[in-house]
């Protein structure tokens, strides 16, 4: 039997002393969380404020006579220009459409892979991870290689040049965003599906409901929080994306806010007020979405995992699994194998213009990447090291923060989750510039030994700041599925907060922590804007090197470096996942979670 509780509905008949004790505990927990929130604000809030603040304090970092003089003119100018309004509308339009399509695809993919015993599962299940592993700018470049009028698909006669030209439009952007972002909803919905076993659906089935009615009346309502979270997370992702904004959107003349910020800051002198104003607009959009989500879900959230859950229902082995596998393979081909083939094709060819002709094939690019002691090798190894440190630190900080926030109650949880989702949308380029301003210009921050501008320590700090929101979302979502009764039972048994976190909470959410670790690890290896701006003096990390190579007509070498990096990162992450997953025994299939 499963215990289902709803927050906010539990305390109606409680006695006053109990309420006071609970209130006191919450205040204590909130007090304990404050130092960690201060770190969160230092990592994200202050750098962001230095950039956004310049929309109304334009002389804050002026070279001559810097001042705090308030002047809203840059903000008014940014809001009143035609292109700014157009970028805002374009960003909203693309964000909403792509959030809907990617959530629909991701949720569908998760449901199909969880609920059907699919043939060729090994080809289907890892696809969201592999798509997620591929950075946005590489996906964009791959689709440009495929779809440009003289690109691979036209060269192979798959599509005519006019169709290729039509791809560079809102439709093409939505198409690539959908295929690029569907892993995020697939992870969130997949985790939610794994969280609630099969009892409720089984009960509905025994009550004579059809499969469609069960899905509509039971599964969908249970998935609603995960779907809402997916919509907001993907909306935020689309708004903050730069890879597609700078390639397909730029070619399609579909101006987006992130590209507007980029054009303001990639110049000498920087137009910081314009960048700040556009970043402010972007942040307001995300916060509005988060606020709307909180308003819609005021009734609270279902707590579904308790100590007495039964196993999830076994996947269907009916005849439908074959066409379902076919659909999943089509998605996998479009989202992963085709872009990967474009990158691989370019990695193994000498020139772009001579296409996929046999005479054009070469292994020179791969040989160059694999040669020891080259810049590519150094960047590759450095990025893996940075990613490892970042993933360890970010998942650890997020775990501690999430556990304390969870203990403090729904109010703080909602605020932190909102803040985390809001900060996901901050373009890395804004955060990167904020880091330069704080750690190289702001009195009191320059000259710190750790982090220090120009050294890997600040780059890693920037990476941690950029990944912390993701880690928090993943871990808080998993914690949100735990029944408070488990923690309460451990507390009544005399265990302290850290012992409860280690012995009760952590084992139950270990997969989520591991997910957060691997997500951070992968994202950090390929993180571009922060890497570009906080590039350490000792040498370039991987992403700026790849982009530099692309910019310098070295597509083949850049593609080879990307291909090998993706294979290596995927191999490391996949091996870790398989090993650790085998070590974790959650009693699924035995009905025992103790």
């Amino acid at each position: 039997m499963r215990v289902t509780e709803t927050l906010g509905a539990a305390g109606g008949a409680s006695a006053a002393p109990t309420l006071r004790r609970r209130g006191g505990a919450r205040w204590r927990a909130a007090g304990a969380t404050l130092p960690i929130l201060a770190v969160f604000l230092l990592l994200i809030g202050l750098p962001l404020a230095t950039v956004i603040g310049q929309s109304v304090f334009p002389d804050l970092f002026a070279l001559r006579n810097p001042s705090f003089a308030f002047n809203p003119a840059p903000l008014i100018h940014a809001l009143s220009t035609r292109w700014a309004l157009q970028s805002l509308l374009h960003s909203l339009e693309l964000g909403m459409v792509a959030a809907l399509t990617s959530t629909a695809l991701g949720a569908g993919y998760a449901i199909l892979t969880v609920r059907f015993a699919l043939p060729l599962r090994w080809l289907i299940v890892p696809v969201p991870w592999l798509v997620f592993l591929m950075p946005s700018y590489l996906k964009a470049l791959a689709w440009v290689l495929l779809m440009m009028p003289g690109g691979y698909l036209v060269q192979l006669g798959v599509i005519p040049p006019d169709t290729a030209r039509g791809f560079f439009s809102l439709g093409g952007l939505v198409f690539v965003h959908t295929l690029s972002l569907f892993p995020l909803p697939a992870f969130i919905v997949g985790a939610a599906l794994a969280g609630f076993g099969g009892e409720l659906e089984e009960a509905a089935r025994l009550s004579g409901n059809s499969p469609f009615a069960i899905f509509r009346k039971v599964t969908l309502p249970l998935l609603a929080p995960a779907l809402a979270l997916s919509l907001i997370a993907t909306f935020a992702e689309v708004l903050s994306d730069f890879g597609l904004a700078a390639t397909i959107a730029h070619q399609a003349r579909f101006g987006l806010l992130t590209y507007g910020i980029y054009t303001a800051v990639a110049d000498y002198p920087i137009d910081f007020p314009a960048a700040g104003a556009q970043a402010l607009i972007l942040l307001c959009l995300i916060l509005a979405a988060v606020f709307a989500d909180r308003m819609l879900r005021r009734q609270g959230q279902a707590r579904l995992i308790s100590g007495r859950s039964r196993s999830a229902r076994p996947p269907s082995r009916g005849p439908w699994r074959w066409p379902v596998a076919g659909i999943a393979l089509v998605v996998a081909t479009l989202a992963l194998w085709l872009p990967l083939a474009a990158i691989a094709g370019r990695a193994f060819t000498a020139t772009l213009g001579n296409g996929l002709a046999v005479a054009n094939f070469t292994t020179a690019n791969l040989t160059a990447v694999l040669s020891y002691g080259t810049d590519a090798n150094a960047a590759f190894l450095d990025s893996f090291g940075y990613a490892l440190v970042t993933a360890l630190a970010a998942s650890l900080i997020a775990l501690i923060l999430a556990a304390r926030v969870e203990a403090a109650g729904t109010g703080l949880r909602g605020a932190v989750l909102g803040l985390a989702i809001g900060t996901v949308a901050i373009p890395g380029i804004v955060l990167g510039f904020g880091y330069i301003l704080v750690w190289n210009r702001l009195p009191g921050f320059t000259g710190w030994p750790l982090p220090h501008y120009g050294r890997p320590s600040l780059l890693v700090t920037g990476y941690i700041a950029a990944s912390l929101p993701y880690c928090l979302i993943v871990i808080l979502t998993a914690l949100g599925q735990l029944s408070p009764s488990l923690d309460a039972a451990a507390r009544l048994s005399g265990h302290g907060p850290m012992a409860r976190l280690m012995r009760v909470t952590l084992p139950l959410i270990l997969l989520a922590v591991l997910t957060a670790f691997l997500l951070t690890f992968i994202r950090t290896i390929f993180e571009l804007p922060i890497s570009q701006l906080l590039i350490p003096l000792k040498g370039s990390p991987l992403p700026p090197l790849v982009v530099n190579l692309f910019d310098h007509d070295e597509d083949g070498l850049a593609s080879a470096l990307s291909l090998i990096s993706m294979l290596a990162a995927g191999g490391v992450a996949g091996t870790l996942w398989i090993i650790l997953r085998r070590q974790l025994t959650f009693g699924r299939g035995t009905g025992d979670r103790s």
Binding site: M148, T351, G353, G385, I436, M498, D553
Partner: protein, 332 residues
Amino acid sequence: MKTWKITALATVLASAAALPAMADIVMYDKLDFAKDVAAAFTKKTGIKVDVVQPGSTGELLGKIAAEGDNPQFDVVWVDGSAVLTRMLENGVVRPVPEKILKQVPFTKLGESLIPANHAFIPTGASTTAIEVGSKKVAKADWPHGWADLARFKGAVAAKDPNFSGPAYQWLAGLFQTNGVEGGKKLLQEVLTSKSLASFSSGGKINKAILTGDAKIGINQDSSIIAKMRKGEPVQVIYPKEGSVALPEGLAISAKSKHMAEVEKFIAFVFSKEGQAAQSGGDDTDMYYIPVVKGIKAKGDRPTDINFIQLDDKAAAAHETAWKQWYRDTFVR
């Protein structure tokens, strides 16, 4: 509890282990050969050089602008002179000392590229030329001047001067030869496809010609020549109106505390070993025009180009306005 402490300690130690030793000189650059030159210099002198290369020239300049009055570089080495002049005006770089300039046996072209304010020392040159997709345009139809590009309107690719130093140099040169209004009118006639008019690098122009919709490009000649040498179907044409020489400028940070090392580095750049390191590979910038007597250009790279002298002062004075016009007209 113990596990947490061990994990936290391991994290801090791992971060601390990532701290590198400081080099003697920090160089920000956007030139293909800069790393090779730095490596050769270190090998010869033992002086270490950290080379920082962010993305495009725009991104590099944005980084320098964000660092403001606390620049972290000792030398900056980029294409284009106007932006370095602005940096001098803002006190980000210092004038190159006369004694350094006098030590270099400049060619006539090299001497012509030395700015009056000594904002930088020219180490080489290139120019902006017309790039023709030779599979797309019959030889009889090849353009020979900027005005001829009107025949290819909608199929001409260009770089956004807001991202590219060389592109701004070209824009300023075009306004100098055609007059500002004449230049603007010509560009509005030619660059009718906005999606082709705002690339951030020469590589993207090449791509647009080789596999995209562009037939013609306005591109740095070294980028076109590097592609030709790799067998790509493109051709370089120098406009009959003349071309503005684009210096590769090396400037010194106003806050550098390593002037002795910087002077040695600059001397090395103009030495035979330094010049050899600048042309040792096949990358775009390695096809530069030498500005030192006795040094020959790589391969059969053309050097007898009809150069015109850019008015650096005017280019620097109008930089913001002209870049803004380009952005408003062709980018947004």
